[in-house]
Symmetry: D2
Subunit: 327 residues, 4 copies
């Protein structure tokens, strides 16, 4: 490979009411608002030195415009674009100046049909890590990962590993020995992106990292205090998989946000992917209440980067069912 | 009143397998084992200077033998016994030496039919509060309260307040304006005892106090590590009522234990009981997953202090239903 | 005794710059401002249902106007006033309406010369315990105790226990077997008031209770972020004595505030006071850096309740020295 | 560069009493003992999937035998050895089988004279991350960094960045504009290695990462409980530099260990090193007590990888003094 993808960088979400979203993400989750206008809010976590990791755009319908990854250099960006084109993925360039605070970028539909974007450059801003007086709500520190529902996880897994250079930290094997779900990373954490078997392509959730478990608990208390207790869909609890101490929230448009703490270092090439059986209860819920049906069934619509229309959804390739332990 | 009940002091539970219970309470919850023999284990929390706050007795059937309260002096004890007898509650004395580590005591059935015991004296032992090297699991610090399901909460509420001198910190009003549940205290915390409308008399749970929320989270992790993830029935989450950060566990015999953190001081006579509407979701679950049916329906059988037989269960006086928000 | 002192209730501090103090106590420590005018700020902790626990009054010179305790009823108040007068303590009544939000009260100089006040009634207000969105800085929950430097600790100890009905939870014995310091309580915590051997009478610090250790750490971070890192005099660390996880701060006028977590229940009459040797290092500092000289030497001037003038300071009766482990 | 250093991997310390060290590192810090014999103990943190990150060897005199880094592959290892030899650093190979659980490795003296080692392979073992029942003391999770005192920081800084491919996250500039100290990383954390101006070469401390601040507080409590309160040299407090919530300990031989929490992600090439002025108090101590003299003056002797003799110490190139704020 002659390109180096560094990490998950940002998402652009379409939301229907900017004020409602602002309240949820700022007071509830603790994001810093870098900038905004009538149609867009740029948000970053407390430790982020870059302009934003989440963009909220006013739209008529909730959707995911794109999920972006940062690459090491402009040369990496060019190589990666060539690579996608050679594989038959139509590429759409957005030259510098097209997008606020971001350098030149290209977008494409990945092999699962997910709208992805790559760029090498984003404006840098003041890091608020030591402005503890600005910490609010769940004190979100930084973006961590995307989790997607796709019909063919094994295909996505192979492409991201073999073609894009991701490594697998953990995966779930179905009863038939197929890959049911996979956690893949470029930065040495558990993941930058995960794929789960399901109707798709859809975005299941965006994960944001918290620096400690008490920020998650305090986040729950603040969310409940300001009227968002119904936004808590699942958790707090711990996944066996990834060892995450987690909370799943639905934002005012139904986009799912994971607050995430408890990762580990995956820098070593000799780290062998952890295998979990589909029906091992500790995989999903090391402890804590069972996931509600909505968590298994609902996810955000993703858009075509060329047409702006919703990407067509297909059924999952593997038989879709809840694990036996939740029946 | 010429007696002074200090606080909830201990419970005696019948369990069917002492070894299983020992593992759960010691490694999982972090109790200190003060003493034990072939038929009994005496447990105390990390800050307790008294011999025990929980007794596990080997028996064929799980049950609650008695719930004990400590009174200020032997004179208080005598006055209280007279009081019960005058009200028609048959009293059974256990003279000093009858019960290990406890002074003279009397037992009776309270007006809900719950087996209660009073004593003024218990052996004191070394407090382990600063033996942090012995802290295990959920690091239980001390006993906090009993929570009982009874058919007529209002009657229990009135008796404990008017006759026994408890104060009410918080209560739930039913749709018809009746007292659905009440939290009553002698020590200036939210409660020493609570009553909830339901089939009874039964013990719903014993609450033990933790010194901080992270002990509860670590407790979950340890319980899951040693095979007790299925013992976690509800939580972690926060009650609006009492502001408790809570976890409900079922011990190996099904007795329910609450790990509890987040109380407040109720010392002042001008503290007005907090009223919660039955259908205010924040009452039960300020945030967190809904309670499972088992939490509403299941509770421990209590024994008659005179016959040793299970106390007859009666239906709840108020219509028994789950709050609308969980339907 | 025919009076019942419930607990430490509030202090009135003279400060030289209300705006500076407001910033420190609100943004730094997390107090709720109940009310204020040009000369006075009334503050309460997050769980307090009463109007205030700390009053800051604009003055030319920093000083302690009075330390107040709450009694159970007006009858208790009258009995206590009579008691003080009979012991030769001149009493000054402040009738209802004289002090904002407080019922009738009397003030006197206690036998160490400390300005104390008693009242039975204070206006109640909305409790902010579950308004987690208002939590700031160190998230102070409630007032806990006063700690005073007095020349004759043994005399103060005996008076508070024998005459006023306090109980001793812990004490430090000097090398000669005298009581060097004592922790005394009415509410069943480690203390409502402590006395330490030293030049006095002076107020060493006011202790406020936090609900968990992480609030203290976050408080340090916020204080440093807004320019108060020099206000941190000692800690965070743990005292052996009282098991407090503590932080000592100096407010903008030099008044010392302790943030305090880690108490235990002292409700039982059979709880024997814990004895600590003066030179047992674990007493002062179970772990953590040694106390600076300022902590041993500096304290707030207290005023005479009748004249408003500073109370004359006397040398400590016991030889004043730092423990050997800090030499 | 044709080699890829992944991360700080392990240290080998000479200690004089294995039993004393075992107690400190296991019960106090929470390391897992992978293996041991009469002369050596192999330790790893709770999340580490490799055989060890710390080796304690029985010796007559405390010293640092070597500090090891992991490289990506055997080819990287060969290239790196050639690189060192070409720069005039004599290389000593230890073929596979020479060192327990480690593949072939080479050692050399780096340009500051520090004994360093590189290898690509270490045996993997069971990860204990989800064996919460084995968590003890400070719950050390993984090795994080080495911090060294060297006479010429700027030279070390340039070599590690330009020749070895490290990136600088933060640095301290002396009053004269020279680099007084530098934090350098390969894995995308604040550092794998730091250099501070001082008599050297010496190892100032090894940093181990904790997953949350409460583990550090609990670690202090456990260390104090089992007799190691005097081993706490500095902290807990927060550095401005690196945002570390830290604790410095001296092991039974005086080797300094840092418990460390509060890092941030440094994956991006556009992350600009944070510059701190030498006399900015918040750099060393964002909040917390000042560092004692021992922290500035004392460090571990390092050995020559060829002779096994102590490396000769030289005076610091920049004027050695404590920052003005600690005078």
């Amino acid at each position: 490979m002659n390109f180096d993808i560094i990490r998950t960088a940002r998402a652009i979400l379409h939301v229907t009411d900017l004020e409602k979203s602002r309240d949820f993400y700022l007071r509830g989750l603790g994001f810093i608002e870098t900038e905004s206008d009538n149609s867009t809010i740029y948000l970053r976590g407390l430790e982020e030195h870059v302009h934003h990791s989440l963009v909220l755009k006013k739209a008529d319908t909730p959707a995911v415009e794109v999920m972006s990854y940062k690459v090491r250099s402009e040369a990496d960006l060019d190589s990666l674009a060539v690579f996608f084109e050679q594989r038959g993925h139509k590429v759409k360039w957005l030259e510098e100046g097209t997008q606020h605070a971001v350098g030149r970028a290209f977008r494409t539909q990945d092999l699962s049909g997910l709208p992805v974007e790559y760029f090498a450059k984003m404006d840098t801003v003041e890091r608020m890590l030591q402005r503890y007086d600005l910490y609010q709500g769940a004190k979100v520190q930084r973006i961590d990962h995307f989790n997607n529902m796709v019909p063919d996880v094994e295909k996505a897994h192979d492409f991201y590993i073999n073609a894009l250079g991701f490594a697998c930290s953990e995966y779930t094997a179905s009863e038939e020995g197929k890959i049911w779900a996979a956690w893949l990373h470029r930065k040495p954490s558990v993941h930058d992106v995960a794929f789960m078997n399901g109707q798709g392509p859809r975005l299941h959730h965006i994960g944001f990292w918290l620096s400690d478990p008490m920020s998650l608990i305090h986040g729950c208390d603040v969310l409940a205090s300001i009227g968002y207790s119904d936004s808590i869909e699942r958790g707090p609890a711990r996944h066996g998989l990834s060892n995450a101490f987690f909370l799943y929230l639905r934002d005012p448009d139904g986009h799912r946000i994971e607050l995430y703490n408890g990762d580990y270092l995956t820098s070593d090439p000799d780290f062998k992917p952890v295998r979990w059986d589909f029906n091992d209860k500790r995989r999903q819920t090391f402890w804590g209440a069972e996931a509600p049906d909505s968590w298994f069934n609902e996810a955000s619509t993703v858009l075509d980067v060329h047409t702006g229309e919703p990407v067509k959804i297909e059924a999952a390739k593997l038989k879709q069912h809840k694990p036996v332990f939740v029946i």
